[in-house]
């Protein structure tokens, strides 16, 4: 468990940019400085060598000296280069390390900000701040100290060298620098202003895009593409105009730099040349001076660039911190004690909750809830039921009055106290991308140690309790298991297959066409009929078959290729003719080997073809692919004559014998359960798994493996046989294994691969697994069907009675009799409370609500 605590007294948003740089990774940064100082020597040394090469070696015509100085020069520049490389790498590493810490701590802070903050804040702003803008700062961080130190030191050393050579010339050549000191900051200021506006505009644009993506259903539904484009295009135009100005200033700065850089040598040649002609300066010294001048300009330029990037990073940083500059309302961890799991005596005194413009959503709420009491919150829409539940869960904070849980003021309780004490189920729960398992443990994992996490039995029990069992089993059956994953259960799953193939055969035969090595399969594709198995490498996938030389050779040998081309041609022709006006609707392609998005390809193919035997390889591949996909009893658009069936069976036989080298004889015995590797010749080509009763097919789903055949009727399978299969699983004690596999199902982004009911059940299971003493349900069962709702209600009445304090916001009043007390809210006030019978007897607001519902 990760229990983050406040490691620093300074609030993250109040820290300066240099706070991070000066306090993080100091040894690394000191080492970096040391390397920089060492590298300086190796950068100045070649200049001295230049001077000596000209003044001593060349002037004295000393070859040995020439070699020595050249060697030393080469050595020094190589070392200087390597050190520069090391400095760059170390700089970057340090910067990225600081960035990681900055991002992690900021994210932690952002997550703890109150919900009210997120009501006002657009997600796009937060996302852009946390990602791209922080990234840009990361590049600055690494060099924040190293660059100015290197530059100043290098500048000073080279300048010193120049003064040493000739003070007058040195003075003249740096005379232009002060001009730059005025001009560049002026331009930079302009750049900063524009940059601030750029950041703002980019964020606004990100918000528009984010909103469009989130509301894409509405956009499609209202065909409001134009409206959304308009919204974005104004920002695009603004950004375009800003970027133009930004680049004009940016390149203005660059131009000024380059101009000043070029002015230097001009002065040097003029004055230095004059002095050399008059013998006041040696040629070697002039060359060395020129080199030094060139080098002295580099750190100067680097300093200016550093200044620019510092200004840029400072703006970004301050903009980011400004957004998040507020304190989390509650401590994460309690000070000086372990987090508490409070039993759930809840007392609300004069609780008022006000939103913007002084609108009171709740006013003077006074309620005492005893531990283990079950309370229903009912009332008219907008009466404040959900707000009250959220206040008790500490998701909102009261504007006035206070809430106490077991004599602790909720204001003083830390998030971990609340996490341990309260489990909350929202009306529209959020499901995170990841597996069902990860989502189930989401609540408990946040507050518990690893050894406190529920075991598999507990998880499966909750899954059953909330009625998610059938769904999880289904997910499990749809899983494609690797050999490694399957290993512990392989034989058990094969045993299940045996049960279906033998004792349940008659039941399943109506819905499944079992794989039979001796028969043509009318519910399987031609590809499956010939290959009759799968290769783990995907070598024999439909899309690759037409390019498989050996396979195609076999088809030609038995004169099947042309027949299949004709079949593909017939399928394409019939489909294109029949569905020309329906190519925009996937529905019409459900029972067709052609996919809806391939229609145009095949339509164009037919336009250029003169007959079913094209010359072009790609055209042949297209026709063959269609034929390989053809399933006679599922694709009624063309019929398959029995003569072709015989040819295909012959192809199957040859394929097994010649291409995959498998002896299928033992697979022809129904009920054979002898593993393939125990049979001579079978399994020699281990990457190929035939449709053999003894083989687990690792490329297919668990359900495919157990049914061992092609589905004739999904409906029959769904209506009746799934139950039968589940019973068999139960009998074989395999159901838990299948459910455990199902828990690994990836639910997609925001749980998009789950139905509304499944998401809701998952959220309920997540809260139940947390097993907190207080359970708050905000219309938690509203999107469930009646029987699922009744099941959850039954749990509350039987399992949680006397064990948990339950506060449940309810719309369906027929569920309220089971609660110990009903609070009726209207316009932010509690107008009635009591048991169901009491309230009905009183014939007040609740009575009216009940009658209005019925």
């Amino acid at each position: 468990m990760n229990k983050p605590g406040a490691d620093s007294k300074v609030r993250i948003t109040e820290r300066s940019l240099f706070y991070w740089i000066l306090r993080r990774h100091r040894p690394m940064q000191l080492f970096l400085l040391l390397v920089i100082v060492i590298s300086l020597f190796f950068r100045v040394f070649p200049l001295e060598m230049q001077k000596r090469i000209i003044n001593e070696a060349i002037y004295l015509k000393e070859t040995e000296l020439l070699f020595l100085y050249c060697g030393l020069y080469l050595g020094a520049v190589t070392i200087a280069g390597l050190l520069k490389y090391a400095i760059n790498v170390m700089q970057l590493f340090t910067g990225q390390k600081i960035l990681v810490e900055m991002r992690t701590e900021l994210y932690q802070h952002v997550l703890q900000l109150p919900l009210q903050f997120y009501r006002k804040m657009q997600p796009g702003t937060v996302i852009s701040a946390m990602t791209s803008e922080l990234n840009a700062i990361g590049f600055f961080l690494g060099g924040a100290i190293a660059i100015p130190v290197t530059s100043v030191l290098t500048f000073s050393v080279f300048l010193g060298f120049m003064f040493n050579l000739n003070p007058l010339l040195a003075m003249l050549s740096i005379g232009i620098y002060p001009v730059e000191l005025v001009l560049i900051p002026y331009l930079q200021k302009k750049y900063n202003t524009l940059n601030k506006r750029r950041v703002k505009t980019t964020r606004a644009m990100a918000n528009v895009v984010n909103e469009s993506i989130s509301g894409i259903h509405e956009i499609h539904g209202n065909v409001s593409y134009g409206l959304e484009e308009q919204k974005l295009s104004s920002f695009i135009d603004q950004l375009h105009a800003l970027m133009k100005k930004l680049f004009i200033v940016k390149y203005g700065i660059k131009f000024a730099n380059n101009l000043f850089q070029s002015l230097g040598p001009f002065i040097l040649f003029l004055v230095g040349g004059y002095m050399a002609i008059n013998g006041q300066f040696t040629l070697g010294a002039l060359v060395a001076f020129l080199s030094a001048y060139e080098k002295v300009y580099d750190p100067w330029k680097e300093l200016i660039e550093y200044y620019q990037s510092y200004q840029d990073a400072k703006i970004r940083y301050s903009q980011i911190m400004k957004i998040f500059d507020l304190d989390p309302p509650h401590l994460l961890l309690p000070a000086g004690r372990e987090p508490l799991a409070l039993p759930g005596n809840i007392q609300l005194s004069n609780v008022t909750f006000t939103v913007g413009n002084g609108i009171k959503l709740l006013e003077n709420i006074n309620v005492d809830i005893k531990a283990n009491e079950q309370i229903a919150l009912v009332g008219f829409s907008g009466s404040g039921k959900s707000t009250l539940a959220l206040l008790i869960a500490q998701l909102y904070d009261t504007s006035r009055g206070n809430i106490e849980i077991d004599d602790y003021d909720i204001e003083d309780l830390s998030k971990f106290d609340m996490g341990k004490s309260v489990a909350m189920i929202a009306q529209h729960p959020f499901i995170f991308s990841g597996t069902i398992y990860a989502n189930l443990l989401y609540g408990i994992k946040a507050i518990a140690e690893d050894d406190e996490l529920p075991d598999r039995e507990q998880i499966l029990s909750v899954i059953r309790d909330v009625g998610l069992q059938d769904d999880v089993v289904r997910f499990g059956l749809q899983a494609v298991l690797t050999a490694e994953e399957c290993k512990p259960f392989r034989n058990k799953f094969l045993r299940m297959r045996q049960i279906i193939l033998t004792s349940l055969r008659d039941d399943f035969a109506n819905a499944i066409e079992f794989y039979d090595a001796t028969k043509y399969l009318y519910y399987s594709s031609i590809r499956d009929n010939i290959v009759f198995g799968d290769s783990l490498s995907g070598e024999f996938l439909v899309e690759r078959l037409a390019d498989h030389a050996q396979f195609m050779e076999l088809l030609r040998e038995i004169k099947l290729e042309n027949t299949l081309l004709t079949l593909g041609f017939a399928l394409a022709t019939q489909t294109v003719n029949l569905l020309a006006d329906f190519q925009d609707d996937e529905f019409f392609f459900r029972d067709n080997p052609m996919e809806v998005d391939e229609f145009t390809i095949y339509s164009e193919l037919l336009e250029r073809l003169k007959g079913p035997q094209p010359e072009d390889v790609e055209d042949r591949r297209l026709l063959l692919t269609l034929a390989f996909r053809f399933i006679p009893n599922k694709h009624p658009i063309v019929s398959l004559p029995s003569a072709l069936e015989q040819q295909i069976l012959k192809a199957r036989h040859l394929f097994q014998e010649i291409i995959v080298n498998i002896d299928m004889d033992h697979c022809k015995v129904t009920g054979s359960c002898k593993p393939c590797d125990k049979i001579p010749k079978c399994g020699e080509s281990s990457a190929f798994i035939p449709f053999c009763p003894s083989e687990y097919m690792y490329t297919r789903t668990l359900l495919d493996n157990i049914l061992f055949g092609a589905v004739k009727s999904e409906k029959l399978l769904d209506d009746h046989l799934r139950t039968l299969a589940q019973q068999a699983f139960q009998d074989e004690k395999l159901l838990d294994e299948v459910m455990a596999i199902g828990l690994k199902f990836e639910v997609g982004s925001k749980g998009d691969l789950l139905s509304g009911g499944q998401k809701q059940k998952l959220a309920i299971a997540r809260a139940f697994l947390k097993d907190a003493p207080i359970l708050i349900m905000d219309e938690a069962t509203a999107s469930l069907d009646n029987s699922s709702q009744a099941r959850i209600q039954g749990l509350l009445e039987n399992e949680f009675k006397g064990r948990k304090t339950v506060i449940s916001v309810i719309h369906r009043l027929d569920l309220t009799p089971a609660y110990d007390r009903i609070l009726v809210l209207k316009a932010g006030r509690i107008i009635e409370q009591g048991t169901y019978d009491e309230l009905m007897e009183r014939k007040g607001a609740f009575y009216e609500l009940v009658h209005a519902e019925s």
């Binding site: 109506n510 027949t563 004709t566 079949l567 041609f569 017939a570 022709t573 019939q574 003719n577 029949l578 006006d581 329906f582 609707d585 529905f587 019409f588 029972d591 007959g611 079913p612 009893n633 009624p636 658009i637 063309v638 019929s639 398959l640 004559p641 003569a643 072709l644 004739k712 009727s713 209506d719 009746h720």
Partner: protein
């Protein structure tokens, strides 16, 4: 395209043409434009049931119309936990059931069981809606035919029940109900 002229081994359209021809024999589809019948033929499904097997069950969601290709189908209903036989439909004549499922979503109010081995052609409500979206001009006429078919069946079933009602249950006037 007639594929048989290019490859005598392949019988293009056979299955589809057979189904299309079969459909035109039914009052719901007779007189419908060829395009509509062709699409229904293409979107229909062949279903096979063994003798004694349930085809549809009372109380379950309805979703398709069934046309009997061959075999016999028993239609029955449960009343007071007793099974009441309503009709025995045979593939020898022009027989079908579940036609209302094309128009609306409801729970089956009867059950159907394969009395012999049965071959059926089914057309789903989804397919019906999709085709009608494309041929809205045919919708009214199809609905009218479905209602007529339903009335005929209602008359047939009432006659059957009246034929089999016990003399004690006969009532001529409402006041005899008590």
């Amino acid at each position: 395209m007639n594929l048989s002229t290019q490859n005598p081994d392949l019988c293009s359209k056979c299955q589809l043409t057979d189904v299309q021809e079969f459909l035109t024999r039914f009052p719901i589809f007779s007189g419908a434009p060829a395009g509509v019948v062709n699409l229904f033929g293409y979107l229909s499904k062949k279903e096979e049931y063994k003798k004694g097997q349930s085809i549809l069950e009372e109380g379950k969601n309805c979703d398709r119309l069934f046309l009997i290709l061959s075999g016999k189908v028993a239609i029955f209903q449960y009343y007071n936990e007793r099974r009441f036989h309503l009709q025995l439909l045979s593939g020898d004549g022009i027989n079908y059931f579940g036609e209302l499922a094309l128009l609306a979503e409801f729970k089956w109010f009867f059950s159907a069981e394969a009395w012999t081995d049965v071959e059926l052609i089914s057309i789903s409500r989804e397919a019906f809606s999709k085709v009608m979206e494309r041929y809205p001009e045919s919708y009214q006429s199809m609905v009218r035919k479905i209602i007529n078919v339903r009335i005929h069946r209602f008359v047939d079933q009432s006659s059957y029940l009246l034929d089999h009602i016990s003399p004690e249950a006969w009532r001529e006037y409402p006041e005899e109900e008590e």
